[in-house]
Amino acid sequence: MSGIGVFICHCGSNIAGTVDVDELTEYASDLNGVTFATNYKYMCSDPGQELIKDSVEEQDLDSVVVAACSPRMHEETFQAVVEDAGLNPYRFQMANIREQCSWVHSDDMEKATEKAKHLVEMSVEKSRLSEDLEKTEVDVNSDALVIGGGIAGIQSALDLADQGKKVYLVEREPSIGGKMAQLDKTFPTLDCSSCILTPKMTDVARNPNIELLTYSEVEEVDGSVGDFEVKVKKKATYVDWDKCTACGDCAEACRRSGNVEDEFNEGLDNRGAIYTPFPQAVPAAYTIDSEVCISLEYDGTCTSCREVCELDAIDLDDEDEIVELNVGSIIVATGYDLMDPEKIYEYGYGKSKDIITNLELERIIDASGPTDGEIHRLSDGEDVESVTFILCVGSRDEELQSYCCRIGCMGALKHVHLLRDHLDEDVDINICYTDIRSFGKGYEEFYRRTRDLDVNFVRGRPSEVNVQEEKVELNVFDTTMDKLLQVESDLVVLVPALLPSEGTEELSRQLRITRSSDGFLQEAHPKLRPMDTFTNGIFIAGCCQGPKDIPDSVSQASGAAAKASTILSKDKLQSEATIASIDDDICSGCKMCISVCPYDAIEYNEEDEVAEITDVLCMGCGSCASLCPTGAIEHKGFKDEMLEAMIDAGLTEEEG
């Protein structure tokens, strides 16, 4: 007669030192449905596993209960053993008599043994009601989507393409490159940003496995891991990119040339309506900004660019296009924006051209930037005699961003090096800091070298910045010297907080991934799963997850690509078997389950007026089943009857 076998583990003396395992075995063998019970020193060891396997056969067992440690430790181990022995793995139950019993009751063997009996009995009761369960399988599409073409997105795309995967790279600007393209040089090695970035950008352009969709945005995401359906809107560029060679004749002819704020140069100079963001842009092609083009936005009369384009590449009838993609996995790498420093009104941003952000300074220092790398006062072109940095502008601030921007300190130290290269040696450089954070590899050494560059590190924070007739003035109390210093500067550089890039909230909704309280996209575990999201098959990389520097962005990007690849390399994916399922006949269509599901696995079927679960999305958390007011949701492997039987067993009075 087939029945349940109970296997009790000593875990050395971990369990046997506190629980009387022989008494427990005897007790177990008398339990309802149990036909065999035994104990052994280490159940997880090879001989222990053999013992289980052999017993299943010899004793004709149909279910197995192991009383040992936490299922977190060894549930999978024993499931595999049971499967090996020819049983369905869900015919295995685990009673935790270590963490939940022996470890916490080591001072009272009698009571611990009593409790262990209850725990074993509960598992046996659950086991009596257990059934065979099957995992569902889904086919995996081996293509990937990367959203955001900054350094993180570029790295992920290249890694995946190298593994032979087809990658769609979606970038909302006309060119990939992200913020790194705007930087002059990079800490801590001071290599030129575009020298290390441009080759990667051209690799992207050349790689046959990468399909680049710039000037594009994700419109809609459906489906789930292995099989996402994505709609991408390719905005009209009004230029045929197959024809355009980026000769630039059109830009010169454009009647709005020099009239439109140049975003790439942080508004420090102007472009026209037809433009390419920067010379090394990828793809190398021009785009018409429809909002400012005379013909498109106003009266349709201007033909200047069309007249000069010898390749006839300009097409004012171009229209937005929706591209439908099918991918198995998605990597989000949408980066960051700088906080608008006007939010700290007292620092005077906007009151004088000489009060700038660190990103504006990058553009000014850049030899191909708006000032050709010449550093003068922006208000009147006079020489710069003094530059002052203010760190933590809106970072570590309880009203604005409470977190650290992680790049501000190092960025300012870098700027000291670059300014020393560009300016006379008698120019004063002051850094108002609260704490200098130089935690990365080679960063502290870089900080030490910077200190040797005749720079005033002022340990304090100004209260306000005032624009005087000639100079920009601030008072700052230095807490190391107990002195209030008056500082007059020609340039004041604010180092603002980093924010998730605009649109992150909407994107997170489309993708059904969560954001942490700071607004950045949330990782599934802050230490152990830093590039996973809670949604299977979607990964995050770079600053969209939180502020970080280039080395960290690139590491995370490669990590995310590797993670995605583990999915994309499979033909089929198995979903969990212990998931929720809805009985249509009982479901009243109240939709309460939809609102609690953290994985967005439940949808409402308008036609049948019932809720429906997408098996591959369900992670088996149990939220819906416990909430459903009609009892229409059953959690496989954790059915109500099972739990009730366990509770009854757990609450029986001690005998004698």
């Binding site: 009104y345 007292e346 306000e464 624009v467 005087q468 003035e473």
Partner: protein, 295 residues
């Protein structure tokens, strides 16, 4: 006709008579009936330094006087306005304290509920009466003048206690000035303190602060300075001569309460606005009559 309890506090009714006179003269023209609160006392804010409970008690008492009459309260002094606002919010958050205070108020047959709205001159003019209404009543716009604004610290700070204007970029006073024709501009020292709160124990430092602010405004070519705070006005106008002596500079900056300027622009008889009491040389301004003329 809106009835408001005129809560003058300490400094206005004991020495800043010009503010009180112009308030009593101008506001009724905007359909506001000022009701005197004969039984009122100090708002308690100066006693924050000594004992916070007494501060709360006094504030609650003054608001209770208004509640008894069923009207809202108008406090032209920003320090009172802040003290009252703080008490109002604290008592709302802390019912225990409210009960404790009410048990004391009972002895005088008073009861504090928390139902009075509070106004200061700035929001009363700018938000309640409104710029359009003011513009309608201007008879002689003061077009040729450029004035700097002095808000007073407590008019704008701390912003977590519902102030009449923004803490870092207040503009209502400027807008009010522009409405009566006066030109104005931001200046770096705009938010600087007048020193008024330490005048009794740190006379020289307080006067230095006032003097430096007046000097800065004067050096930037303003024709005058407009105030809405009696403490600030006392430092910048009434004590301008002492401030000049203290910093060793000659100061002759006309300083006027905004509501006095408004009265002048409305064509109100200048002697009714207490202009003779401004000790800074206000009659350097063409629009302002000299004392002899006024008589």
């Amino acid at each position: 006709m809106k009835e408001l309890g005129l809560y003058l506090g300490c400094v206005i009714p004991t020495e800043q008579y010009g503010y009180e006179m112009s308030i009593r003269e101008v506001l009724p023209k905007f359909d506001i009936e000022l009701v005197d609160l004969e039984e009122s006392t100090c708002c308690g804010a100066p006693l924050r330094n000594v004992n916070m409970f007494t501060t709360m008690y006094l504030s609650a008492r003054n608001m209770a006087l208004c509640e008894k009459k069923g009207i809202d309260l108008y406090a032209p002094c920003p320090i009172c306005h802040l003290g009252l606002t703080e008490a109002k919010e604290s008592l709302e958050e802390n019912p225990e304290l409210k009960d404790k205070i009410n048990s004391k108020l009972e002895e005088e047959d008073l009861q504090y509920e928390g139902s009075t709205e509070l106004y200061h001159t700035l929001d009363l003019l700018h938000d309640e009466i409104g710029l359009d209404e003011i513009e309608d009543q201007v008879e002689e716009p003061l077009d040729d003048l450029t004035f700097a604004a002095h808000y007073g610290c407590n008019t704008i700070r701390p912003n977590d206690l519902d102030r009449p204007d923004d803490s870092e970029n207040p503009q209502k006073l400027e807008e009010l000035m522009e409405t009566i024709g006066i030109g104005t501009e931001d200046y770096p020292e705009k938010l600087d303190c007048c020193g008024g709160q330490v005048i009794s124990d740190h006379n020289e430092s307080a006067l230095t602060k006032a003097g430096e602010k007046i000097e800065a405004v004067q050096d930037q070519g303003f024709d005058g300075l407009s105030t809405i705070c009696p403490w600030g006005h006392r430092m910048l106008d009434s004590k301008q001569d002492s401030a000049a002596d203290t910093i060793g500079e000659s100061l002759d900056l006309p300083v006027m309460y905004y509501i006095q300027l408004l009265g002048v622009a409305m064509g109100i008889e200048q002697s009714r606005l207490g202009l003779e009491l401004n000790l800074s040389p206000v009659d350097n301004l063409e629009a302002i009559e000299s004392i002899e003329e006024a008589e």
